[in-house]
Structures are given as C-alpha cells and as structure tokens.
C-alpha cells in the first residue's frame, strides 16, 4: 500500500502553497508535504514581484571584478554591475531579463496570475492590488524596497507618503535601531521628515528576550508592572510624537490581534501606526504563514509536515511515487503528478559540495560552470552566478535534462529550486514563487486529470 493522491506537492513555502491551491481548485486531490517549518517565517512578509533588473549591457566577467581584499568596499560597490531600478512596476523590466529567467520563460501573465492568486488567498490583510505600480516600503536596514504587495500593518509607512514620520525602537530589542533607520531613510532622500527615537519600554524584559514574547504581550495587552503594555508604550512614545502623523515600530505588534494593537496605539498617539518588517525571526512572515496554511485547509489540501522526501520510484519516464522518510522508515507516497517546490540552496532544495551542484530528491539536471571558481565572484554583494543556480524548466514548468528534454513526464517544479533568477538582487523572490507555483500547479492538475481519464478509459 502507498498513501495516494492525484497531485503531490513537495515543499511548504510560497511556491508550494500556490501550486497546491491552484491544483486543488482544478478539482483534483492534492497533498502537500513540508519537511520543516515554512521558510515564510524567515521572509519579510513583503510580496515582491520585480524591483530591479540587470543592466542591458552584459556584466563584466568575474576576472575584471575588483577583489574586496584589494580595494575599498565603496569602490567595489561602485564598480558592481549596476542593476536598473527601482522599477515603477514589476512588469516593465521583464523583457530585459535573461532568456532562462522564469519570467522570460513564463511571461508577465504568469506573474499577474500569481499575484491575483495571492490577493485572493490573503483577502484584506494585504494591500497593493489596486495598482500595478511597485510600493516603496522602508526596511529595518533603512533601505526602501520596491514591492508588489505589502501587509496592511506596513501601509502607513510607505515612502511615497509625504507625511512626517517617527520611528521608535525599544532599548531591550537590539535588532532594531530606529535612529539608524531614520538616518538611512533621510540620506536616501525620502520626501518627508523622519526622526528616530529609542525608548525605555518593558525594561523588565532582558535584552535577549525573544521577539515572540513581545508579540504575545501586545496581543493580549498584558500588564507589565501593573500597566497594560499598549498603554505603557503609548505613554513613553507620546512626548516624541510632536508633528509626526505616522509612527513606525519594529514588527512585533501582536499576532492574532495585530490590527487592534495598531488601532489602540494609534488612538493613544493621535497618529497612524505601522510596522517595519524585520529580519528573522519575522513576525509578518509568521502571520502570512498562518494565513496561507489556513487557506490550504479551506481548499481541502491534505497536509503533512515534519517528514522529508528522500527519493522516488519511477516507471520509465514517469514518477510513480515519492519516498518519504517517516522517522527512519521509508514510505512511498504515490501520485499521478508531483510538484517539486523544495526551495533553493538555503532551503535545501538544491545541494552542493566541491564536486557539484544537484537537486537531491530526483537528481534533476542543474546547469553550473565546471570550474568551481566560476560559481562566485569576489564582491560579496555582486552578481553571483550561484544565485541563479537551479533546475531549468520548459514553459509548463517541467524540469529539463541536459539535452533539453523533460526529466519526467509528470514532474513539475516551482519556486527557488528553479534557476535563472537572482531573486535577492532583483527583489523578485515572492513573484517568482507565485508565478512558477501557479503554472506548475495548474499543469500538474491537468496532467493528473489526463492520467486519471486514461486509466478510466482503459478499464
């Protein structure tokens, strides 16, 4: 016996969720396997489409790059192949991307479909769908990120808004330096006054208090030394508000009750409240993860987490089942079609050592330069070839072998396991996941239905 489903999605990130929902909506039986906690909790919670594109002129070869050891960092940065942007819309730069970029393979409509699916899944908890233009959201590093969709909690912080801004950090929360963020934003030339202030708040919290502790305290308006925490915060911030019309905090303002935390603080301070997305652990990412996993349930997707896929069984050019390691016992999960959405080098959907780069479950072909010294350039933030490593798919998102033929007739790929995009520099990670997820999920469902019909016809 094997555990059976029509479509089996391997991976619980944005791409896996998107493909599972799309397939389920096509009316087939879908199961999603996630090995670990979704990578969404390490992401900012911002949904970017495309913010920057590589220059039209080919990048300098890595031999021409200056080494960081030899030159001043700023010089390295200046010589770096400049990306163009921020783009006004995520669609305008697509035709300038390299041919093997997922957007080039799938076209702008896949991104539109992906974002439309996202809008549908998150409802009114996210904004940005009213326009095709990129929103400019301040980050906790003091940069401004072009992004297609943003959580409602970040709305009042947009850099296109001209109202004066106050940023507030907590002394006991060392991850967020409000003064630095304000200075960086001012230096970047934002069209508003911005000040940063650090307040003593929840001083009984030691400096290594986990962010989740703050979240819980805000969520339930817990009392610290007898005073409800929201009121306590409003009281210490109040003297600094002055003429600021919006006040930004690190993204720790509650979880289930985040909206009421912001309203409550806003009423007390007489300003709009917003959150600045943080690095890991990311509360906006956690909230999004919760939201998306709820929708999986609502769409009838069967869900299993905590078990890794470690291999497969095939018959000719067809994957028959994925072998799942259930605490040391290998159990086959049979499916008509499979979506590979296991992530990239960080998510471990791709694996590498000195000898090579590989996709570890199915051994799909991953193109990479033979000489390991061509995998990277010296400039750490430069145009790193390894950032584009991944499987190379056809237009239906089937991974191709070295000869350009599909590896399997019923295997599709989505998300960061797909190569061709430098999502960190392009600001395209979410968009690539959504676009590839939608196409892979749709085709996996169609192919699965074909196979079911074939079996029914022959019996």
């Amino acid at each position: 016996m094997a555990i059976e489903s029509d479509v089996l999605v391997v991976g619980g990130g944005l791409a896996g969720v998107a493909s599972a929902v799309v397939a389920a909506r096509e009316g087939v039986d879908v199961r999603l396997l996630a090995h670990k906690k979704s990578t969404l909790r390490q992401a900012s919670g911002l949904i970017d489409g495309l913010g920057y594109v590589p220059p039209r002129t080919p990048l300098e070869k890595h031999a021409d790059y200056v080494s960081q050891q030899r030159r001043d960092f700023r010089e390295v940065r200046d010589k770096r192949g400049d990306y163009l942007g921020p783009l006004q819309t995520p669609y305008e730069g697509i035709d300038t991307l390299p041919d093997d970029h997922p957007y080039s393979i799938l076209g702008a409509d896949a991104l539109r479909d992906g974002l439309a699916l996202f809008d549908d899944l998150v409802g009114d908890t996210y904004l940005g769908s009213h326009t095709e233009r990129n929103a400019l959201v301040p980050t906790f590093g003091g940069t401004v990120k072009p992004t297609a969709r943003y959580p409602r909690a970040a709305a009042a912080g947009l850099a296109s808004d001209e109202r004066p801004m106050l940023l507030v950090g907590f002394r006991s929360l060392t991850e967020f330096d409000a003064g630095m963020v304000a200075d960086q934003l001012a230096a970047a030339g934002v069209p508003f006054d911005v000040r940063g202030v650090e307040v003593s708040f929840a001083e009984s919290f030691p400096t290594d208090t986990k962010i989740t502790r703050f979240v819980k305290a805000f969520d339930h308006d817990e009392r610290i030394k007898g005073i409800p925490v929201r009121r306590a915060l409003a009281e210490v911030v109040k003297p600094y508000v002055d003429d600021a019309k919006r006040v930004g905090f690190p993204a720790v303002l509650g979880d289930d009750n985040a909206a009421s935390v912001r309203t409550d603080l806003g009423d007390r301070l007489g300003a709009d409240i917003f959150e600045i997305p943080m690095g890991p652990p990311s509360i906006p990412g956690l909230r999004l993860e919760d939201r998306l996993f709820e929708t999986l349930d609502a769409e009838g997707v069967r869900l299993e987490t905590g078990v890794p896929a470690v291999g497969y069984e095939k018959d000719g050019d067809t994957v028959e089942s994925v072998i799942v390691d259930r605490m040391g016992s290998e159990v086959p999960y049979a499916a008509d079609t499979v979506v590979l959405a296991t992530g990239g080098l960080v998510g471990k959907g791709l694996d590498s050592d000195r000898e090579g780069v590989r996709e570890p479950i199915f051994g799909c072909h991953v193109p990479y330069p033979e000489d390991r010294y061509d995998w990277f350039v010296d400039d750490a933030f430069g145009d790193q070839p390894y950032a584009r490593f991944g499987v190379h798919p056809d237009a239906s998102m089937r991974p191709l072998d070295a000869d350009g033929e599909p590896e399997f007739a019923n295997l599709f790929a989505a998300g960061s396991v797909v190569g061709g995009a430098d999502v960190a520099r392009e600001k395209s990670a979410s968009g690539v996941s959504l676009a590839t997820g939608v196409v892979a999920g749709r085709n996996a469902a169609i192919e699965s239905r074909k196979r079911i019909e074939r079996v029914e016809a022959s019996s």
Binding site: K37, F205, P281, R326, G328
Partner: protein
C-alpha cells in the same frame, strides 16, 4: 517495472562533514581527529550546523510566555560552544525547557536540538541539582510515574480517592510542590495487561501481520479504553497483536534529566521489542510521546544493541494503518453513531508534530460520516507531561495553553480529541471537555 532511487546516504554524510578533505585522511587510520573529546555522543555537528536562522525561537512556546527564557538556540548550540573553553556549568534555565521538541522539528538545518537539550538537562541534574533537594525528589517521583502508577493500580479505588482528597493534595503542594489545582488522573480498576491476559491474549493469529503493542504506562494504568480500542481495531484489520513485557518509554525521565533511569527502562524495552521485530513484527504505540521516544530519543541518547532496529520499526498506531491498509477507502464506507458521533475539537500533541502525524486525524475524520473534526491550531497545550505538574511551572503551563483553550472554545464541538494523555489532561483542565483518542473513534467506525 518500477525502479527505486534514493539520495545516497553515504553521499549525504560526506557532504555534512565537508571541510575534512578526503585526501588528508590516512587510510590506515580513517577516524578523524577528535578535536573536542565528548562523552558518548559528539554534539559538535549540532553546533556547527546552526546558522542562527531563529526558526527554533519562533517555535518555542516557553520563550513566548517567559521573558527570561533564553530560548532553544541558546540551550543547544550556543551553550555547547560556550562550554568548550572553560568549566562552565549548564545554565539553570535548561529546566525551564518543557521538552516539547518543537525546536528540533522546526530546525531547517537538521540540528539535533532534542539531543542537545536532553544531554544538557542530564548534565545539569547530575552535577548541579542536589539529590537531597525537594525539587530533585519531586522530579524523580514525577519522572518515575510508572512506579507510582503500579502501586496505585493495586488499590485503584483507594488511590483515586486519596490522590484527589483535598488534605492530601494540600500536603503534596506544600511538601512536594505539586500544584493542587490539577486533578489527578483516575486509575482503571483493571489494568490493560490484566484485561489482556483475562481475555486470553490475541484473538487473531496471523504470522504474516504481526504487531507488537507498546502501550506505555498511561494506557495500561489509566486510559485502558484506548488500549482496548486499539486491540479491537487492529484485530478487525486482521492483525495478530503481541504485548511484550515493557517498561516506561522514558519520556518523563528525559524531560527531568534522569537519564540513568531512562536508560534502565530503555534496556528492557529494546531487548523485548527488538526480539519480536527479529521475528517479523513491527512495533506500534498509541501514545505519541512513547513512539517519539522509541524512534527519536533512544538512538540519540543511548547505545544499546538493537536500538536502531527498534527505532526504524516503530510506528504510531494510526500511522501504521494508514501506511499498510486502505484506511482512507475504508473510512469513506464507514460511519459512526452513538457515543462517538461528535464534533471534535482536535489538538495535535507536539510529539505527534515531531513525527509528522499532526494532520492525520484531521485528514481521516474529515471523510468519516457521523463525525466532525476541527483543528484547534498549532499551539502547544503547555502541560508537556510532568512540566505542568510542578507548582512553579503551573502558571506558565496554563499561559502556554491559553491559546489552545481559546481555540477549543471557539470551535464548534465541545468534545476534545488528542493522542497524548497529558495534552488530554490539560484540555480537560482548561475547558472541562471530555477528551478522546482517535483510536476510540476508529474503533466505533469499524468494530461493532
């Protein structure tokens, strides 16, 4: 013809120990140099693999309610590294860890946080906790629940009266720091093993489908109805059930740092269970902390002959049926009426999550006529076995459980469901709902 492909284990291992280039290894002496001599287990890979992504911290239910708990990343990799240079003692905060093991499951880098925490806790108890302290005595009694349960089950009615008798509980709180708020679990008037031998053991003989049942302490002394349901369900599916001699799985002992006690019990379990596996049976458990211990903690903490075999051949009872029977198909033709035709508010225990079992009850019962089921979310119940049975942890345990209580109350049903006996206690304690095990519902669906 199908072909099987498996990511090469040796290849994987080679990659995780990258950094030692193969050509530098002397073929005469293939063992790598021991840079940091350790005890029985080398925890260095756990420390080296941590890239500080903080996923474990967002998964930690204790850190979310306790501002001074430094979190799983500290308890594991960071503390291990700190201790390399000097004689630094284990930070006492290790005893605030509830052993839910959510950190272990969540780590994307495969750091064995469970192993690191268990080892640290064992070291703390061995070297820093006086065996004369009340805390030690209390923890030892709690950890060795099997011993007290065995005594109590000799006089179950008396025990049930005494254990919930107010003056006794007052004295227990004052002397042993066992919170008087909690209701002591009721002891069955006949243990499962007594019932088993009274009915004459297995009613089905089938040398091709044999399972050995690890019932653990709770289903033997307290919730015997779960164990009996499991027996009747498996016999319905044609399995021959063996009930080998066994002791405590060790979970409460790991959680209290009593590793010597745990090893003693593990030795008995491994010996008896490995023997039946040798004869062709698989091992199944109805308590998810028991199956977790046999599969995960045993090989991580002990080196006992047969321990790997046991780990590889142990399954959760529901999981095993899903793998080997067309349970999904059978469920679609079945229905439940009577006592178990309920709307259930289901809570997945942390230790079922760790084994990838947290959604199986939802998946199965969604398609079962007569039964409604709703997942009350992924929060921890907070009791964590013996954790919530300590006076100084009681409040924290209830704070962690608050989210689950809220979600249970928001759910349609007013009957609880879970696989873990202590989660069940907490669910009942926080909401007043009756709580059942999925196996009881399955029995109602298939067995008359």
């Amino acid at each position: 013809m199908s072909e099987k492909h498996r990511a090469d284990e040796a290849d994987r291992r080679r990659r995780t120990t990258d950094g030692v280039a193969s050509e530098t290894v002397n073929p005469e002496q293939p063992d790598a140099v021991e840079v940091f001599p350790e005890g029985e287990f080398d925890l260095r890979p756990g420390a080296d693999d941590c890239y500080k992504c903080t996923t474990c911290e967002t998964s930690c239910p204790v850190a979310a309610v306790d501002k001074s708990f430094p979190g799983p990343k500290f308890q594991g990799p960071e503390q291990w590294r700190l201790k390399r240079k000097d004689e630094i003692e284990i930070d006492p905060s290790i005893s605030e860890c509830s052993n839910c093991l959510r950190c272990d499951t969540s780590c994307p880098s495969g750091v064995n946080l469970a192993q690191m925490h268990n080892t640290a806790r064992g070291e703390y108890v061995d070297n820093q906790l006086s065996t004369f302290s009340i805390k030690y005595v209390r923890n030892r009694i709690l950890a060795n629940y099997r011993t007290s349960a065995r005594l109590a089950s000799m006089f179950p009615r008396t025990a049930n009266f005494v254990m919930n008798f107010k003056p006794v509980r007052w004295a227990m709180e004052k002397i042993l720091h066992v919170p008087s708020e909690r209701d002591f679990p009721e002891f069955a008037t006949q243990t499962f093993r007594e019932w088993w031998s009274e009915r004459g053991g297995a009613q089905v003989t089938n040398p091709d489908k044999q399972v050995a049942y690890f019932h653990g302490c709770y289903a033997n002394y307290n919730t015997t109805e779960v164990a009996k349901a499991m027996v009747r369900l498996y016999e319905y599916f044609g399995y021959e059930i063996l009930v080998p001699p066994q002791k405590c799985s060790g979970t409460p002992m790991f959680a209290n740092g009593m590793l010597d006690d745990a090893r003693r019990h593990a030795e008995t379990n491994v010996e008896n269970l490995a023997a039946v596996i040798e004869d062709g049976a698989d091992v199944i458990a109805s308590c998810t902390s028991c199956s977790m211990a046999l599969r995960n903690e045993y090989p991580e903490l002990f080196d006992i002959d047969g321990i790997e075999t046991l780990a590889k051949n142990t399954f959760d009872a529901l999981e095993y049926l899903r793998i080997h029977e067309d349970l999904h198909g059978a469920i679609q033709d079945a229905s439940v009426s009577g006592e178990f035709a309920e709307e259930f508010a289901y809570h997945a225990p942390c230790h079922s999550r760790n084994q990838g079992l947290d959604r199986q009850a939802i998946e199965l019962f969604r398609d079962l006529d007569g039964v409604q089921i709703e997942d009350v979310g992924d929060s921890c119940s907070g009791i964590s076995g013996t954790y919530g049975w300590k006076e100084e942890k009681y409040e924290k345990s209830m704070k962690i459980g608050a989210e689950m209580f809220e979600h249970m109350e928001a759910a349609e049903g007013t009957t609880g469901m879970t696989e873990c006996p202590t989660c069940g206690m907490q669910m009942e304690h926080g909401t007043g709902y009756d709580v059942h095990h999925p196996l009881e519902v399955l029995e109602a669906a298939f067995v008359d």
